[in-house]
């Protein structure tokens, strides 16, 4: 009896709910695998997919979004071993699952905590409510590969944004594997899009893209690159989350700022009368 020959996995991009190779046909060798090397065109395609998904996802009920994020946690729970095999510690995987659960609960609570009635000095109904800003470009932290990634995706999408994520260039397998989790969690295609490859290739395109509403620079370790990206982002006044400090503790309570920076507040007035 010869030993069974393993079936290896091809690691591809995740765009619009599908797993295409890079349109450039390129890959790079990392973590002993050939991983797609996304091009600028892939980045633009991902923005198109993310934009197309905004209407349905932002328009979904908060209850529905919450259930889908919880479903992601359920799916991740069943694939713990895969992420451990890719190098995440058991604690990290546990924390990543719990983080999905934590954010899932925020979907129908943040509008109450972060909005509400304003007692204006006159006969008016006046209500402020948060709304998603739209398409968010996200640079995932270099590490921890899974917890860092989940910690930047979940707060962006729970409120109704869609994202284009530049995965950690040195540890992209967790990102592609997470995409497989997302693809089986009832998350509509295009809500999360994941690019693997070099940050210097995809991220400047995302930062300068006029149909991107916000950019999360969390994973940009190079201060000069971060400044350059922020300058590009100013062209259409993207909302900017600046890079996280190198010693950022990903296991700590995330707080609300990751969610609220990617929200708009809309205030509606109406007169009262008979």
């Amino acid at each position: 009896m010869s030993e069974r020959v393993a079936v290896r996995k091809t690691y591809k991009l995740f765009i619009g709910g599908k797993f295409p190779r890079s349109e450039s046909g390129r890959s790079y060798l990392v973590q002993d695998s050939n991983v797609s090397l996304a091009s600028r065109k892939d980045a633009r395609d991902a923005v198109v997919a993310a934009r197309a998904a905004v209407k349905g996802w932002a328009g979904a009920t908060a209850y529905n979004r919450g259930q889908i994020l919880y479903r992601v946690a359920e799916m991740l729970e069943g694939r713990r071993d895969q992420f451990v095999a890719l190098g995440s510690s058991v604690d990290e995987v546990d924390a990543a699952i719990d983080r999905w659960v934590w954010y899932a609960g925020w979907s129908d609570k943040l509008p109450q905590v972060y909005g509400g009635a304003n007692p204006v000095a006159g006969p008016y109904f006046n209500l402020s409510a948060p709304e998603p800003t739209g398409v968010v470009a996200v640079v995932a932290p270099e590490s921890p590969a899974l917890l860092g990634l989940v910690s930047v995706i979940a707060p962006a999408i729970v409120t109704g944004n869609t994202v284009v994520v530049a995965a950690s260039p040195s540890a992209p397998l967790a990102a592609v594997t997470l995409a497989e989790v997302l693809a089986t969690s009832d998350l509509p295609g295009g809500v999360v899009n994941i690019l693997t490859g070099r940050l210097s290739e995809t991220v400047p395109t995302l930062a300068a893209h006029m149909d991107v509403n916000a950019i999360d620079l969390t994973g940009v370790a190079d201060a000069d690159l971060a400044a350059e990206l922020e300058v590009k982002a100013a062209e259409n006044l993207k909302r900017v989350l600046r890079p996280a400090p190198a010693d950022h503790d990903w296991s700590a309570d995330p707080g609300l700022a990751r969610m609220t920076t990617l929200l708009e507040t809309k205030t509606v007035w109406h007169p009262k009368g008979v």
Binding site: V231, T265, V268
Partner: protein
């Protein structure tokens, strides 16, 4: 139109000095490396005062004074004491409201009935509102111990000089920051009177610093490495330049920029009320309003009726002396702004829109522009895309609610929008879809210190007013 006898407010209540220095560290000082400029009355072109122009050394001195006050006095001070200073300031503004209103109308050109009944009361209310937050920050929903940022650099426009000062200074001080504020070069006088009010309130030296000047002064201020926070209200173009200037720093930035708001009138709206709202939306403060309803979207089936009524109403607007209590539309703030309004209006006519103004006598001296509407405007016209910032309304039509949403959102701006309809469910359906930070339904241009204000898209980011307004000045 009825002939009214002139009813001018007396200007004897204000005492304008021939010249003003910079307000740094609690004192008025001469600039060390700047020159001076003149502030004029836009209704008469009369010189009101000579104003110091702050150079980069002066800005540096002001930032250092603010830093010292932050570290030694204002930062360590208990919230309840900061609150008392802010309450004091609010009360002095109320006590000196006549003086502030007259001075604002003289320097800005806005009608006294607006400075008296809108600007100054809102200024006092804003300080009163944020005063109450100063000792309650741990309950504001930003965590158990929200901290101030430090020194705030604040640059404000000329359209609501004192009100924009209040929107900037009140939340900054309540949260425990100190400020260096630059008023607009054409309207510095009420900010300088505010500096006197700070002295009268015994506000500790250096907590509020006022540096007057033009764009270069503003640039030196926002680029100063000693500031922790930049807040700007003004044009989208300058806002983008500031966003680029703070890139790569840890300065927290909030921007309140331009707008091109759609004011949407449906066929079931009460026409008379809607027309009042349209007039208020575009002619309030000569249209020098970032959230002005400068694009009227009227449902095709009622367009003729609404326009006829609008023209009749516009013929009743009184344009003239800002200090006259009957004046509806005052002076355009500056020659440069008048040139901009003229250029865009000429472009509207050249691009094929039909221009109309009521018969209207304008004074010989000063800067004036008659209330104007353009009909037959398409979405491609410059007057439908660019912010005119004057009393000029572009009229477009639509057939369905979905088309109204498409047209309303077809702009890089997203500051405000108006909806006029009798149908409640349609208001809420529209409000959900309009990409704008403030939506006025069956009303327009309403402001309140408790109500967050600010834009989507290229109208900027951050909110001013309400609990949300604190966030811009806390480390959250």
């Amino acid at each position: 139109m009825f002939e009214y006898a002139p009813a001018p407010e007396s200007r004897s209540v204000v005492d304008i000095k021939p010249s003003y220095g910079l307000f740094v560290d609690g004192k008025f000082v001469d600039p060390t490396d700047g020159g001076s400029f003149k502030s004029i009355n836009p209704a008469s072109e009369e010189v009101l005062a000579e104003i110091a122009e702050a150079g980069s050394q002066d800005v540096d001195r002001a930032v250092r004074a603010a830093r010292e006050a932050y570290e030694k006095v204002w930062g360590p001070m208990p919230g309840r004491d900061r609150a008392k200073y802010l309450f004091r300031i609010a009360r002095i503004i109320q006590e000196r409201s006549r003086e502030l209103a007259v001075l604002e109308s003289l320097d800005n050109g806005k009608p006294i009935k607006e400075s008296r009944d809108v600007d100054v009361p809102l200024v006092a209310a804003h300080f009163f509102y944020y005063a109450g937050w100063a000792d309650k920050l741990e309950h504001a929903g930003f965590g158990a111990n929200p901290r101030p940022l430090g020194v705030a650099a604040q640059v404000i426009p000329w359209n609501f000089p004192l009100l924009m000062l209040a929107w900037k200074i009140a939340p900054a001080l309540a949260a425990g920051n100190t400020v260096v504020l630059k008023p607009a070069e054409t309207t510095p006088l009420t900010a300088l009177l505010f500096a006197e009010i700070c002295q009268q309130a015994d506000l500790p030296a250096g907590v509020v610093n006022i540096v007057t000047g033009a764009g270069e002064t503003g640039r030196a201020l926002v680029e100063h490495p000693g500031v922790d926070k930049v807040a700007f209200t003004g044009s989208t173009e300058v806002g983008k330049a500031i966003a680029r200037a703070v890139a790569g720093t840890r300065k927290k930035l909030t921007l309140e920029l331009g707008g091109k708001a759609a004011n949407i009138v449906f066929d079931d709206a009460p026409v008379d009320q809607a027309v009042e709202g349209i007039v208020n939306g575009i002619f309030f403060n000569q249209g020098h309003v970032c959230c002005a309803g400068s694009r009227l979207l009227v449902q095709e089936s009622v367009a003729d009726r609404v326009l006829e009524s609008l023209k009749r109403r516009m013929a009743q607007l009184r344009v003239g002396d800002p200090l006259d209590k009957n004046t509806d539309i005052g002076a355009i703030n500056s020659a440069a702004q008048l040139a901009r309004i003229r250029e865009l209006s000429d472009a509207g006519a050249a691009e094929g829109a039909e221009r109309w103004s009521p018969p209207c006598e304008l004074p010989d001296r000063g800067f004036w522009f008659a209330p104007t509407i353009f009909t037959g405007v398409t979405q491609a016209h410059r007057i439908a895309r660019e912010e005119i910032f004057g009393p000029v309304l572009s009229v477009l039509t639509f057939r369905t609610p979905a088309e109204a949403v498409e047209k309303a959102n077809n702009t890089p701006y997203g500051l405000s929008a108006g909806i006029w309809t009798d149908k409640g469910s349609r208001i809420l359906w529209m409000a959900d879809r309009l990409r704008a930070g403030v939506v006025w339904a069956n009303t327009f241009n309403k402001f309140d210190p408790t109500s967050p204000f600010g834009g989507y898209k290229e109208s900027g980011y951050g909110r001013e007013g309400g609990r949300h307004g604190l966030e811009a000045y806390l480390n959250v």
